[in-house]
Symmetry: C2
Subunit: 347 residues, 2 copies
């Protein structure tokens, strides 16, 4: 069993502590938080609380450290932990720039320890269903994939609303959604377009819409909203031989698979105030509709992989190349939004 | 009762003939179509068939002419009909350029007759519901409106697939959807971005996505797809005090109205592989959900208005300014798609 310590006992740090306490591959060494109230909360939960980050990093029993602080503190803490000879799991977003990622990766190589990012939403069952459907080829090549998460509570009123701490929704939920999309589309991004919303916060984005265009003509839409009192469907896929839809993350994937194109003349149908041939629905003779089972998911697989990787028995699941690619998209998002233009890229 | 003749007895011309035969304000003088098979079809339906367009336009009993031909023939026929002293209803799209619209409007002013475009989808009950909701102010100012129509039959295999005849979906369904949006957003468009799809046709667009940005910060998304085997919801509205959704044109509008923002701390909820405060759902204490009745609609109101306008007793519902504005957006759509960039506009 590997021993893991957690720096930061906020929402995400406490979540890690809870997961590690239940893990079959690692145990919790303890935690440290700069806020007294959070240290007291950890202690009340029976968790060992270090006297400082330095004391935590100096503990020879600690194999790996989870960094779960506000985003602007990640780089310094990741590099300190690597220099202290610890393997490092950093919460997302890893940082706010590609240059910062490059410095962390350089520190990682110098230290000869592992460094990864906790992209735990790769274990979201809705995303897994889309990834599995795309990989199966059952409705052919993916032409367009749309990923939306809609909430209605605005941006959280803590540091997530402040630019200097790396607030905003692109760096919060956005980084998950972008990472998910790039797990499905491995081909190069040649162009992107991003617009941010500022309905409840002028300093940072409280939502965004991102269009990604890939070298083979495929496209993806990534959208996050915090002022949506009704949600649009979570995932929508257009593929060469059908479409698929996930209404809500708890729901099954609904698939409509084209079985026969049929070029013969179509009977027009009434549609609101007019008739239409173009929008005439298909029937079961040319379209097969069915549901896919919800995939099995276990977030502990993240820790299992990382503990194996520490012993050189597996490649880490979230790679440096992937971490850098996601951050490159994030940087381009901010640039596209500021310029109000599409950007030609090679990501 | 005004006497109306219809040039073109294809799908839309036959539809007009059928409507005029049932009208309480006008009667059908007859039709002409350059194709013998369509003239025979009209005759078989008991409709008077003229020997030529010239004979139709020379009939002194005809008050107004409907032009329902392929799009590239509209300008010449509209101008001929105006010069023959007839009022003119042109099918959509009026033509393929703003310059063409300007020539038709000039001919109209010279002739002293009416000229309008048959934007009959202003009588679509789904659009009417959105327009009425926006005007009612019950969920405040509209921040963003998304209009989608998804079919799965590709582009029709007649002239609608050919560029020289004005084919493509922007000029077909698109012009309806753009006209509808501009009936709700009267403020200036300052920027737009459009991308066309070419899944089933390389010559013309078989679908498009258009983003419109207005001078007051509001935005609209207009989307038409012909390779969507499952549809996304027809309309989605985000407003200052709530959201609204129409799943399908036959369905009622579902409204979620914010009654109280509540800034106090939110309890995180499980969402797939992680917890989230941002996406925690609201309850009935801060959100009121209800359905709106489907509006009453009667497409005959188009003819009723036009017949009143012929006698100077009403303003024509579809104005020259509106016709020109829609065509200006269409021109900008093609330019944005060709440049793969957003366009700064003043429309």
């Amino acid at each position: 069993m590997k021993k893991i310590a957690v720096i930061g006992y906020g929402g995400q740090g406490a979540w890690h502590c809870g997961q590690i306490l239940k893990s079959d591959v690692c145990t919790l060494a303890g935690t440290y938080d700069i806020r007294e109230v959070r240290r007291a909360a950890a202690a009340a939960n029976g968790i060992h609380v270090y006297g400082s980050n330095a004391e935590l990093l100096a503990d020879p029993q600690v194999d790996a450290v989870v960094i779960a602080t506000p985003n602007d503190l990640h780089e310094a803490l990741v590099i300190s932990a690597l220099e202290a000879g610890k393997h490092v799991i950093c919460e997302k977003p890893v940082e706010m720039s590609v240059a910062s990622v490059d410095r962390m990766v350089a520190a990682c190589k110098k230290a000869g320890k592992l460094f990864t990012v906790h992209h735990n939403r790769r274990w979201d069952v809705d995303f897994m269903a889309m990834k599995q459907l795309a990989a199966s080829g059952q409705i052919g090549k993916v032409l367009n994939l749309e990923s939306r998460v809609h909430g209605s509570r605005g941006i959280p009123s803590d540091w997530r609303g402040e630019k200097e701490h790396g607030g905003g929704m692109i760096l919060d939920w956005g980084i998950h959604l972008i990472d998910q999309i790039l797990q499905i589309f491995k081909q190069k991004i040649v162009r992107l377009y991003c617009t941010c919303s500022h309905i409840t916060n002028q300093e940072v984005d409280d939502g965004f819409k991102l269009e990604l265009y890939f070298e083979d003509g495929a496209s993806a839409h990534v959208e996050l909203g915090t002022y949506n009192f009704l949600p649009l469907p979570r995932f929508y896929m257009q593929a060469e031989k059908g479409s698929a839809l996930i209404t809500d993350w708890k729901h099954k994937t609904h698939v409509a698979k084209l079985t026969c194109w049929v070029e013969k003349d179509v009977t027009p149908v009434q549609n609101a105030a007019d008739i239409t041939k173009t929008m005439a629905p298909r029937d079961h003779l040319t379209l097969d509709e069915y549901d896919l089972e919800i995939p099995q998911s276990d977030v502990h697989d993240f820790y299992r992989n990382f503990c194996l990787a520490m012993d050189g028995k597996a490649e880490q699941l979230v790679t440096h190349q992937e971490i850098r690619r996601v951050m490159s998209v994030v940087e381009a998002c901010f640039e596209s939004d500021a310029k109000k233009q599409t950007l030609e890229v090679n990501i």
